[in-house]
C-alpha cells in the first residue's frame, strides 16, 4: 500500500502557543483515517496546515510522495485534495445544483474555455448524479441557504466529492447533524469510499460515528499524537481515556 498523504513533523505556533508540536503520520490509499482528541488538542490547526490554509511553523506535507508544502488551498484542490468545514460552508445564494457545479468547474478544461463554453461547464449530468447519490433530488433548484442544517451538511460533503478527489479531509462532518441524517451520512461516505477508493481523513467529536466509520484512528492531545491504531484498541488505551477525562 502506498501512502497518499504523508505528514512529516508538522508544527504550528501562534505567538507563544504551540498548537501542534511535531505531528507525523501516513494515510494509505482507500483508507478512512479518524483523528480524534479533546477540544484544543490541535486537530483543526493540523488540518489547516495540511490544506495550506495556515502556514506551518515547520514540517512537510507530501501527496503521492511529492512535497506540496506552501501550496495554496486552490492549488491543492486541483491536485485532488478536497475538504469539508467544521462550520457550514455552502454558497447560500446559489442553488444546490449550482453549488455542485461550482465545486467541479475549476477541474474542467481551461479557464478561457469555461468563459466561452457551456454554462454548466459540462458538469450538469455529474451534478445531477451527485444530487441523487446524496438524496437531495427534490432540492436541486432550491437556494442552498434555504436548506435545513442537515441537508446543508450533506451538500457540503457532496461538494467535496464533486471533482472526484483522491483525498478528502472531513472536519467534523457529524457535528450538529441529527441521528437519522447521521446514519445516512455515514452510509453515503462508506459507499463513496468503496466505489471510488478515495482516501478519507476525518476529524470528529462524535465517538460512535468515528468508531463506526474509520478503519484506523489517531489520537491527538496537546498538539501531539498520543495513540494510534484500530478503533477498538484506541478505545481501550489508558492514555486516551486519561486525555479525555483529564481534560
Amino acid at each position: 500500500m502506498t501512502a497518499v498523504l504523508e505528514v512529516r513533523d508538522i508544527a504550528k505556533s501562534f505567538g507563544g502557543v504551540h498548537a501542534v508540536q511535531g505531528v507525523s503520520f501516513d494515510v494509505h490509499e482507500g483508507e478512512i483515517l479518524g483523528i480524534i482528541g479533546p477540544n484544543g488538542s490541535g486537530k483543526s490547526t493540523l488540518f489547516n496546515c495540511i490544506l495550506g490554509q495556515l502556514a506551518p511553523t515547520r514540517g512537510e506535507v507530501r501527496i503521492d510522495g511529492r512535497n506540496v508544502s506552501g501550496k495554496r488551498p486552490s492549488e491543492l484542490n486541483r491536485l485532488g485534495i478536497s475538504r469539508t468545514f467544521q462550520l457550514l460552508q455552502v454558497f447560500p445564494q446559489l442553488t444546490v445544483r449550482e453549488n455542485l457545479i461550482l465545486a467541479g468547474q475549476e477541474h474542467k478544461g481551461s479557464r478561457l474555455g469555461r468563459l466561452f463554453g457551456a454554462r454548466d461547464a459540462g458538469l450538469g449530468a455529474a451534478a445531477d448524479r451527485m444530487i441523487d447519490f446524496f438524496r437531495l433530488g427534490h432540492l436541486a433548484h432550491e437556494n442552498a441557504g434555504g436548506l435545513s442544517y442537515g441537508q446543508q451538511k450533506l451538500l457540503d460533503a457532496a461538494m467535496a466529492f464533486m471533482a472526484g478527489p483522491r483525498l478528502v479531509l472531513l472536519d467534523e462532518p457529524a457535528g450538529g447533524v441529527n441521528l437519522t441524517m447521521l446514519a445516512s451520512l455515514k452510509e453515503r461516505l462508506q459507499a463513496i469510499n468503496r466505489e471510488t477508493r478515495a482516501t478519507f481523513v476525518v476529524i470528529e467529536h462524535n465517538m460512535e460515528f468515528v468508531m463506526a466509520l474509520c478503519s484506523r484512528i489517531i489520537v491527538l492531545a496537546e498538539g501531539r499524537i498520543i495513540a494510534e491504531g484500530e478503533p477498538a484498541a484506541v478505545r481501550r488505551d489508558p492514555k486516551v481515556i486519561e486525555a479525555y477525562l483529564g481534560h
Binding site: F14, N48, Q53, L54, R72, P73
Partner: protein
Amino acid sequence: MADFLQLLISGLATGAIYALAAIGFTLLWQTSQTINFAQGEFVMLPAFFALVAMTWLGLPFAVAVVIAIVCSMLVLGLMFKVVVVQPLIKQGVLPLVISTIALSVLLKEGVKDVYSAEAQPFPTLFPDVTLSVAGVAVSLAQVGVLVVAFGTIVALQWFLGATRIGRQMQATAQNPTVARILGVPVERMILYTFLINAVLAAMASILISPIYLAKFSNGESLGLAAFVAAIVGGFNQVRGAIVGGLLIGVVDNLAAAYVSTSYRQAVPLILLVAIILFRPQGLLGRREERAV
C-alpha cells in the same frame, strides 16, 4: 535647517488636527463598525455652526465656539447615531458606507445651499504673533493649535484609560459581546463614542478653519487626511491614529516644500499604499494570523 524646523512645527500643528479627526474615525470603527466617509464633512461643519451663531445671531466668538461644540454633539453625535447608523447597523458594512457617503454629500450641499459657496474667514483663538526662537520663526497660532490639540488628546487618553466609563468604552470597542455579558451598558457606551467623535470633530474644525478658511468643500481633503492617518497608524488603535495624523501632517508639509506643491497630496497617498503593501496592520497595529 531653520526652514525645516518651521515646516516641522507647522506640519505637527496640522497633523495634530488630523489626528483629532482620525481618532474619532478609529473610535467609530471600533465600537460600531462604522467607516464614516463623512468624517471630513464632520470637521467642515462645526465651523459653520459657529459662523451662524456669530453672523446671524450676533454672538461673540467664545460663545459661538461653545454653541458649535454643543450643536456638533447633537447633530454629528446623537442624530448621526440615532437617525443614520442605528437603522443601518444590521444591514452590514456596505449599506452603512453608502449611507455615510450620501451624508457627506448632504452636509456639503447643505452648507453650500444654506450658508454660502464661498470660503469664509474664521477667527482664530490665538493672537497672530510670530516669535523667533533661536533663529526659527514660530507662530503663536501654531503653538496654540498644538497645545490645544495635544491637550484634547491627552484628556481623551486619560478619560479612556483612567475613568470607569472610559474603560467600559474600551471594553465595548474590543468585544461588545463580552462587554455586554460583563454588565457594560454597551448601547450607552456606543452613544458616548459618537458624542466624543463629534467633540473631536468640532475641536478640529475650530482649530483648522482659521488656517484653511471655512468652506463647504473642505471635507474632501480633511476626510482623506483623517482616513489616511487612521490606516497608516493602524486602523484599530487610538495611538495609531495619533501617530498617523502627526506623520501625515508633517509629510504633507514637507512634500509641499521639497517635492512639489501640485503633487503634495500624492505623498500621503503613496505612503498609504506603501503601508498597505508592506505593513498592512499599520505602523502601530499588531499583525493578525490570516487564513487563505
